[in-house]
Symmetry: C2
């Protein structure tokens, strides 16, 4: 039994050890665990949640690393599948604080994390998890899209009601068109009860960029909680009963990549604990700020007490 299971991307982040310079000038790189749903599971595990990630890796040394790193962060690797003939994806980035962090994917046309099939899934484990987290990218290709559909059917038909979070994670280069991403989002929104995304992502999903209107459109599409990350404007959330707006935290940003995954893992904690909406948002927001102030992503995910300390420090 898992508190949460995520599904989707994994890989190796090969990130510059020098910040503020372009890739043309970077001299050395470090190697980190990457892939948004994978790092959400890591972030959640840091809060003491029993986590697993469903993903695929290549039959290569980088795939061994990803599996080992997942386990090293206390996430169950039982659902990490090794896919022959598909190299483990690699991602480079440039780090230009405070707000420019371009990403360069080397995923190949058919990365292993999109080779997941329905028959690979443990549907009992998926149905029984307290929370299930999936992302838009997982719907960008078959057979992964079919695997997602099977997993979401297992969630919606389960007797025990659970949380299903749709991360609207939209990476334009991984789609044939934005219209295709929009259609995929529309198809799956009714099967989730929480949706989370930044302004670009909610616009892709529902065609509206204004945060209040986008949140309402997400509710209309079927979720019960819509969360819109507005960057320097903070985070806005809406349910049928209430709205909440949380201001961004003042931190010196080192590397903004990974902040969203820290936010996600912390969001899982608040949702699973049944915290009030504003407390959940404030906690998740602080977890994101914690990681943004650090170079690493997976390696920098905060524990619950580290987030609390940051929140208390900020309010004192």
């Amino acid at each position: 039994m898992y508190d949460l299971i995520t599904i989707g991307r994994s890989g190796v982040d090969v990130y510059p050890l020098q910040t503020g310079v372009g890739l043309a000038d970077v001299e050395t790189f470090g190697k980190f665990l990457g892939g948004s749903p994978t790092n959400v599971a890591v972030a959640a595990a840091r809060h003491g949640l029993r986590s697993a990630v469903i993903t695929g890796v290549g039959a290569d040394p980088f795939g061994q690393y990803v599996r080992r790193a997942i386990r090293g962060f206390g996430v169950d690797d039982a659902f990490v599948h090794t896919i022959e003939g598909r190299p483990t994806p690699v991602t480079f980035c440039e780090i230009f604080p405070p707000d420019h962090f371009p990403i360069y994917f080397y995923r190949g046309e058919h990365p292993p994390d999109l080779q997941l099939t329905p028959s690979m899934l443990d549907l009992d484990a998926i149905a029984g998890a307290g929370l299930f987290w999936f992302s838009l990218t997982g719907l960008s290709q078959e057979p992964s899209a079919a695997a997602h559909a099977a997993a979401l059917s297992a969630r919606t038909s389960a007797l025990k009601p659970g949380l299903t979070v749709f991360d609207l994670d939209y990476r334009a280069v991984l789609w044939e068109s934005r219209a295709a991403a929009h259609e995929a989002a529309q198809r799956m929104l009714p099967r989730a009860n929480v949706a989370v995304g930044n302004l670009e992502e909610v616009e892709t999903a529902v065609g509206v960029r204004d945060p209040e209107a986008a949140a309402q459109a997400l509710l209309d599409a079927g979720v019960r909680l819509a969360i819109v990350k507005m960057g320097p404007e903070g985070v806005f959330a809406r349910t049928s009963e209430e709205s909440a707006l949380v201001e961004p935290m003042e931190v010196k940003v080192v590397n903004g990549i990974g902040a969203g995954d820290a936010f996600g893992g912390a969001l899982c904690l608040g949702l699973l604990r049944g915290w009030p909406l504003e407390r959940t948002l404030r906690f998740a927001n602080a977890a994101g700020a914690f990681v943004a102030a650090r170079l690493a992503c997976a390696d920098a995910m905060p524990s619950t007490s580290e987030v609390d300390d940051l929140l208390n420090g900020a309010s004192s």
Copy 2:
């Protein structure tokens, strides 16, 4: 007017800064200029030859780096084309001295260096170069194969006779089948006058692995000089008039990758200067040993006097 022009692969080599460990355990990486024909041009430039490389790079920061590095090594970048929508290739390796150096390509299915078209070529420059160097990999996909055919037509129809070297460079993962690579090699061997390859490569090209028989088969296929690199057994070469065998040099190997390109650049020097066969082979062999004893590839290419020093030291 160029002493030599090479055509083919370029990219970024992201190589471990720790040797003797697999990629799963490597902690940091350095960034180097990569791609065999590119590094052959670099190696030749170190010998004072006026060199250029015809290649394609992505419209991205790594592409800027490749272009800048080529120029920095004294190679003309006038024929480096920027290809939109095709990321600059990246290559990882593992360094297990003395003889195990696995390579992991992240080239995508349509890398920029295979997007070269006949219309991109400066056929006058190609026809007029003292030496033209191409590799089997450039024949693995269109439109690159057509560009190679156009370049080789310009060579064979030129009034001034010149040297055309076919590097049998065979990377199995870059081909649909070994049979396809064999056919491509057979098609182009009559247009070259020098062929060079290791045992695996000559077997791919002519179906024979025995060095003497393979060299003869290469001569029968149309070249005037066939060179077979036999690793720990040295280098064997044959023309219609003579044969030569050069023993390997005794060096402490740090990273065998790049030795072949150093060999190639030095081979160009010997061929252009009209040195006797055995002197050419001994010189090229020593250049390869020089680079094998160092971690870097492009950055470690020796000057002529450095090769001579190594040869003199070895014979004293």
